[in-house]
């Protein structure tokens, strides 16, 4: 599970002109990672699987991991000794290096994570991790089914126009989840707080960071709108009248 900047808040460019002002940004778990967790929990509900939630050390990751456990994950593992920001290509590299070192973890049947995050500039966690772990990968997944005892999963992948396709994937495999079969479940705050007292987040040290992003950032800027809409002013009735004029002028009314 990866933290990304919450875009409900205003984002600012840092003083270096090349990166995000992390002070102003507020971290939130990547939306599709939340869906990946939900899909994992749905599989647990149906099959009695074991779910391990993992993340890199970063502000608020503890909250996210404890919430995952409160929702039903069996274990939470945090990779420590990493200072954000970590480009996505490195996130994948660090996870790939650390996963085999987590006690009693491998082999797993499925690795699930969001298929893409809003800060995935130089990589995507799911396919990069799949490659390092030498397992197959399917992305843009919106559903997964496994029959107990079978070493394969049937997944639904989303295309355009509402069309989806079904694939059979040999396990172990990695899935990049676009959306879980159901929206992420709610967990009462009291349960999360109780989990924070009762559960423990396991930690594993990150290895040396030896794979910096190959991309060199020249600059980061707020986008200039290529064009901008002509704004219509006034209260609802005044604006409505202007819109009717526009539509009439184009022969649409």
């Amino acid at each position: 599970m990866k933290m990304v900047p919450d875009i409900v808040e205003e984002l600012e460019v840092a003083a270096d002109g090349k990166s995000l002002d992390l002070e102003a940004a507020r971290p939130i778990v990547s939306e599709s990672d939340d869906h990946a967790l939900e899909q994992a929990l749905l599989l647990k509900d149906r099959l009695g699987a074991t779910v391990v939630a993992m993340g890199l050390e970063s502000p608020d990751i503890d909250d996210v991991l404890f919430t995952a456990v409160a929702k039903g994950a069996d274990r939470a593992v945090k990779v420590t000794g990493v200072e954000p920001p970590v480009p996505t290509s490195e996130v994948a590299a660090l996870l790939a290096a650390v996963i085999p070192a987590v006690p009693d973890l491998m082999p797993v049947d499925l690795v699930l994570t969001g298929c893409q995050a809003i800060d995935d500039l130089d990589g995507m966690v799911a396919p990069f991790l799949a490659e390092r772990l030498h397992i197959p990968y399917v992305g843009v997944v919106t559903g997964a089914e496994i029959k107990a005892g079978e070493a394969r999963a049937t997944v639904l992948k989303e295309y355009a126009g509402g069309v989806r396709a079904r694939y059979v994937v040999a396990l172990p495999a990695a899935l990049g989840v676009q959306a879980a079969e159901k929206p992420p479940r709610y967990v009462p705050v009291a349960k999360v707080r109780a989990t924070m007292k009762a559960a423990k987040i396991e930690t594993v040290d990150a290895p040396e960071r030896d794979a910096p992003s190959p991309l060199a950032v020249v600059r980061m800027t707020k986008p200039e709108a290529a064009g901008h809409a002509e704004m219509l002013e006034g209260g609802p009735d005044a604006v409505a009248a202007k819109v009717v004029e526009l539509l009439t002028a184009r022969g649409l009314l």
Partner: protein
């Protein structure tokens, strides 16, 4: 008829369904005479599978499990009607129902989407709309009068004005804010707000069963209160008022607290000379559940309205203790989609029909939820040309000329 008051001893969280019957309020519940007045007065009585009468009956037999496994208590909008009418004065809406609703909530296989979003947003952003906390005081830019923010100027103040979420973020709530700020200014009140530090009081979250959220918010708000020096809290949020008046004292909050309506009523003598503009309208007042039935403030808003020149006050058939809930409490504010899917009539629609029947031009309210709920109903029922909704403070401010 006794109207139960809610000044319960004991620390929060100490009272549970398990030990309830060991407490005085719990033992009182056992004296329920099963008359069914509660069920008869419940606004969603026709779809309420477990009105207090049945709850108490099942509690007495140790058979509450079937209630806790059902979703029916989501229909309770905590309007205090059952408690107000109970001939025994039993502690229903303030003790029994929250405990049951908490257990129902925890067992829900799926929390309805809109409600889930509101609760998750409140935890993360301090407001159910999911707006950035950093924009909570943005309304100040259009306040028209100076507003002090304690975070910037922490000198001691008389009134800490707790603005609340809908008032701060919703466009119609911001109308209320501007009106309130204007009235404080006119009265020369020494007031300040918490600004972006303020977080929802979480009372409706508590009353839908998310007590953990309420605890988290109370911790944050109490810490915040502890940072500043003030004499009293005045809040625009009716539910916030309930939280501060009835829940916070057990957590160590000792300041006096008032809702804006009774506060301004208390200062009516000072305000009156400034109410010079003739509004020329007929107004009917909707008694908010929290201010009316729960806390007894029936006459204060009426005195304010009658002090406005050119206002003629008419009463709806169900007024004061009989007022019909707008449906926003107890989580109802975020369960409209859920109720609609079940085919329930919107409580606000019922109330608006009654309001329109009085022939009044203005439906006056004093709880922020009511404004948007009743305006929606007016639109849906096709009455938006016949009647408008205004908070009492909006009408007062309108009557104050520059």
């Amino acid at each position: 008829m006794a109207i139960a008051t809610t000044d319960l001893a004991g620390a929060p969280g100490e009272l549970t369904l398990d030990n309830l019957l060991g407490t005085p309020e719990g033992r009182e519940l056992l004296s329920c005479i099963q008359c069914g007045t509660c069920a008869g007065t419940c606004p969603y009585g026709e779809v309420m599978d477990y009105p207090p009468r049945r709850l108490i009956g099942l509690l007495r037999e140790g058979m509450l499990e079937e209630v806790l496994a059902s979703e029916s208590l989501l229909n309770c909008v905590t309007c205090y009607a059952c408690m107000a009418k109970c001939p025994r004065g039993l502690h229903l809406t303030d003790v029994l129902l929250p405990l049951v609703k908490e257990q129902v909530f925890v067992r829900l296989p799926e929390v309805p989407a809109e409600l889930q979003k509101a609760l998750a947003n409140t935890l993360r952003y301090g407001n159910p709309m999911g707006e950035s906390a950093r924009k909570r005081a943005a309304w100040m830019a259009t306040a028209g009068v100076p507003v002090r923010v304690l975070g910037q100027d922490p000198a001691p103040v008389d009134v800490l004005w707790f603005v609340e979420c809908y008032t701060a973020y919703h466009p119609r709530g911001q109308d209320n804010c501007r009106a309130t700020a204007k009235l404080f200014h006119v009265l020369g009140t020494d007031f300040a707000i918490l600004g972006n530090e303020e977080k929802c009081a979480g009372e409706c979250g508590r009353l839908v069963g998310e007590t953990g959220l309420f605890d988290a918010l109370a911790d944050a708000n109490l810490k915040l209160f502890g940072k500043y020096t003030f004499n009293r809290v005045v809040t625009s949020g009716a539910h916030a008022y309930d939280a501060f008046r009835h829940q916070y004292p057990a957590r160590g909050f000792t300041h006096p607290v008032e809702h804006t309506t009774p506060y301004f009523a208390r200062h009516l003598e000072a305000l009156k000379p400034r109410l010079t503009k003739k509004l020329g309208c007929t107004v009917t007042y909707h008694d908010a559940c929290v201010l009316g039935r729960h806390n007894g403030f029936y006459e204060e808003p009426r005195r304010l309205l009658q002090a406005i020149p050119g206002v003629k006050l008419v009463e709806m058939a169900h007024n004061r203790i009989n007022s019909m809930c707008c449906g926003g409490g107890g989580g109802g504010m975020w369960l409209d989609t859920y109720y609609k899917a079940k085919g329930y009539e919107r409580l606000a629609d019922r109330r608006v029909r009654e309001a329109v029947a009085t022939g009044a031009d203005v439906l006056a309210v004093s709880c922020p939820y009511e404004v948007s709920r009743f305006e929606d109903s007016l639109k849906v029922l096709g009455f938006e040309k016949k009647m408008v909704v205004r908070d009492v403070v909006e009408l007062l401010a309108e009557a104050v000329e520059a």
